[in-house]
Symmetry: C2
Subunit: 190 residues, 2 copies
Amino acid sequence: MASRTAASNTSTSLDADAWIDAAFDALAEGGIDAVRIDPLAKRLGVTRGSFYWHFTDRAALHQAMLKEWRKRASYQVGSRIDSRTSAPDERLRQNLALPKSTARAKRAAAIELAIRLWAQRDAQAARAVKHIDAVRLKYYAKLYGEMGLSPVLARKRAFLFYAALLARAYISTDDETDVGDDLASMLSLD
Amino acid sequence: MASRTAASNTSTSLDADAWIDAAFDALAEGGIDAVRIDPLAKRLGVTRGSFYWHFTDRAALHQAMLKEWRKRASYQVGSRIDSRTSAPDERLRQNLALPKSTARAKRAAAIELAIRLWAQRDAQAARAVKHIDAVRLKYYAKLYGEMGLSPVLARKRAFLFYAALLARAYISTDDETDVGDDLASMLSLD
DNA sequence: GCCTCGCCATACACAGGTGTATGGTAGCGC
DNA sequence: GCGCTACCATACACCTGTGTATGGCGAGGC
């Protein structure tokens, strides 16, 4: 009766991943408190009955979201850019050059922001954020290490690099004053 | 009858600022959606009747919060550190040396995070964030300019400096791997 | 000593969300 | 073609929050 709004599933039945995808949309728009079952059901064109088949609880969905985010965020590190062909400085530079104004990028940034806020009151979310931050920092430090920097200096540079990456997404600057492309020179990438 | 939990007002009547203060507490803990009238009233030891005397609406409270945040954030820039005695590089260094683990600092960071997430769906919040970011970037660029950097380079350094400042608050790292104090050397502050 | 006014409590109608219990249905195995 | 199973709809009880209307109450003007 109701038309499915999901992209992949047109008429077949929903699976848990469809709920998780929709949950991330809601998370990006309104934070973890906006991840509510009834609105998600309306968005998916089904009723709550479907949800309680796939999940026991609202908390279960939250857990599944964290698990999924850990997977995605870990997977992205080092695989967005082909990790075999490029030199380390080239890989870092390409990370900085990733689009930041596309719908995809904005959604990802909003999701991260929401999870970081969520992590302030939820221990599980805090653990996930801590883990992902450590993974990313370690990866960037590894790249700087491959460029010849000492481990200590590589860690510092990695932190600054990660800071620039996050700030580029979170600081709302006019696009005219965007200094993104010039960051490379200050991050020892030339 | 009910005991007032606010710090300043022990038994006299509440004013709008008391509501706004409590609202910022709720904002820091759960985002803008957690700024609800009923829970705030319970926290303040009064009922909704008081709220609807001082504010017409929930939206009015949100507006007042944004106005207050604009005021505080603008005021903090350049006045946390005595703006007359110190040299520009000293002022920047002291900004980096500001505590980040105190309850006050964590609350402020959480509030900013929540407002940035809020700004993704609310135009007024987005304007406030954009304004504050511009003010801060301009201030840091001015300091770098006073250190002798060219306007263009000063703006770049200011962005990186601001990025480091935000990241120090948002990236959840173990305190052992904290590189905060070493940032200065990478930001042309020595 | 009344009256007004600032401030708050109480009560009501309404909306929206949660979880549960139960029923319906389409498809597949055999 | 029977039945089982996966998946979803429906209905119910409950809770929490909003906004509004109205009543109460203490303090100061005069």
